[in-house]
């Protein structure tokens, strides 16, 4: 069983987004970090770059493999979490908190409607 906070929106590809004042904070879910286990390296998008919903925006590497991380929303990257560069294992310890990946200034808030709520994501992963 994994933790699935009620207030977040979820992509089928196991990312979460939290929206505040038109900016979305993106990370990977507890289920995703459990599947990956032992995160050892994170590649983040460049500050100021543009990401598109459903397109690869970051890479999280575990002992097993390199996994593409898809942005759940489109827009400009306004912040990246440099803490993860030096402490990639935060992704395993605090996936919804200290291990946020990047923040996006939403260019199309309507995209949020296509994402799942906690119940929808819970159903998807069969928990």
């Amino acid at each position: 069983m994994s933790i699935i906070p009620e207030q977040l929106r979820y992509a089928a590809s196991h990312e979460w987004v939290k929206v505040e004042d038109g900016t979305g904070t993106v990370g990977i879910t507890d289920h995703a970090q459990q599947e990956l286990s032992d995160v050892v390296y994170v590649d983040l998008p460049k500050l100021g770059s543009r990401v598109a919903a459903g397109a690869v925006a970051a890479v999280v590497e575990s002992v097993k493999a390199a996994s593409d991380i898809y942005s759940p929303v489109s827009g400009e990257v306004v912040a990246i979490n440099n803490e993860l560069i030096t402490q990639p294992d935060l992704a395993n310890k605090d996936p919804y908190g200290a291990a946020w990946l990047f923040r996006v200034k939403l260019s199309n808030p309507g995209e949020l409607d296509a994402l799942k709520d906690a119940a929808g994501y819970k159903a998807q992963i069969g928990e």
Partner: protein, 370 residues
């Protein structure tokens, strides 16, 4: 994800894995545990104490009868005549071009009885190849479906085996195989492994498999024994530079290119498939070699199929790569041009469009303290 429509096979230990909380993945047509607690935790357990792996998916062949020695010497690369009863050797089965069909361990169980342990994904191909060359008088049987097997590996493995079987157990020496009875069931005990640690591989019937594993885990608990999955098995074997068929070995690569020349006897009288190609390659020197390399700075770990460069020139391709839990940096195996294969050579690894400096190092990355 597997796109195959053939249902995945399950070992006799599948239910036990689920009880132990394993995360299950597809591997070589089988549903296998990739990890229980976590790959790094399991990796460390094997380096520092002991771990147990389900290796039931591997194939078990028996070859026996008059003429078996000559038959196997004409099929496999190593010199079978060197094996006394109860001894084993790592060896390879090649195609006519010298490419690797499979790497395996051959044990001599009796005067003219031999036991072969082959890779799971290659069972069908290996069986067909053996049967194709089988002379009359030599009996071959594929008993893969009847056998379960586990690998008990780590510095505490032998102590645990002694506690499990009892003090009177027939402890095999390195590469030896013995027979013993556990709960009235026949068990083959081989002092071999795929982790770079000391340990044994145990072969027994499917019906006792779950009881065997769960009892062993109970006995091993005070020693720090942990169930381990394929994830840790891969990082452990990579640190020890033990090749994985399908990654580091293939039908396109010879054992000489793979650096496995010591397991190829070109001086034995018997001719085996690929021998002439290897003789030629040995005299000329292989154009490409399997090397071990390490990421020099903190950076992304290498992965299979990443490319290696020297300046603008592409000189090789990665076949295995992962972050090394023991070394704390990315390590890998790659085929590179022979001129770039010397330890100390600096190459560049391409990772998602960026270049990362790596150094060719002496094999293996990890050698257990003696």
């Amino acid at each position: 994800m597997s796109t195959s429509s053939i249902p995945l096979q399950k070992t006799a230990l599948f239910d036990a894995h689920q009880k132990l909380g394993a995360r299950i993945v597809e591997f070589g047509g089988w549903s296998m545990p990739v990890q229980y607690g976590g790959i790094v935790e399991e990796h460390k357990a094997v380096r520092e104490a002991a771990g147990v792996f389900d290796i039931s998916h591997m194939g078990e062949f028996f070859v026996e009868g008059p003429g078996t020695l000559n038959f196997l010497n004409g099929l496999l690369t190593n010199d079978v005549a060197k094996l006394g009863i109860g001894q084993g050797q790592y060896t390879l089965m090649l195609n006519e071009q010298g490419g690797v069909i499979d790497d395996l361990i051959l044990y001599r169980l009796g005067e003219e009885t031999y036991f072969l342990v082959v890779n799971a994904a290659k069972i069908d191909e290996d069986r067909a190849w053996v049967e194709k060359h089988l002379p009359s008088g030599v009996e071959f049987s594929d008993r893969s479906a009847l056998y379960s097997a586990i690998a008990l590996q780590g510095p505490k493995a032998l102590e645990i085996a002694r506690a499990f079987f009892g003090a009177g157990w027939p402890e095999p020496q390195r590469n030896e195989i013995t027979r013993y009875s556990w709960n009235c069931q026949d068990v083959l005990i081989a002092r071999t492994g795929y982790t770079g640690e000391d340990g044994v591989e145990l072969f027994f019937g499917n019906d006792v498999a779950a009881n065997f594993l769960l009892t062993l885990l109970e006995v091993g608990k005070p020693f720090g024994l942990k169930p381990c999955g394929l994830g840790a098995r891969d990082t452990l074997r990579l640190e020890a530079c033990l090749p994985l068929n399908g990654n580091d070995l293939s039908e396109k690569r010879t054992p000489l290119e793979a650096g496995l020349g010591i397991f190829v006897s070109l001086t034995k009288a018997a001719s085996f498939p690929g021998k002439e190609v290897l003789q030629k390659q040995k005299s000329e020197g292989p154009a490409e070699k399997l090397i071990a390399f390490q990421i020099k700075e903190k950076g992304p770990p290498p992965r299979p199929h990443y490319l290696l460069f020297q300046g603008a020139k592409q000189v090789g391709e990665v076949t295995s790569g992962a972050p090394s839990p023991t070394l704390g940096s990315g390590i890998g195996l790659a085929y590179v041009e022979a001129a770039c294969a010397g330890p100390g050579t600096t190459l560049e690894l391409e990772v998602r469009g960026a270049r990362v400096p790596v150094e060719v190092v002496k094999k293996p990355f990890y050698k257990r303290p003696v």
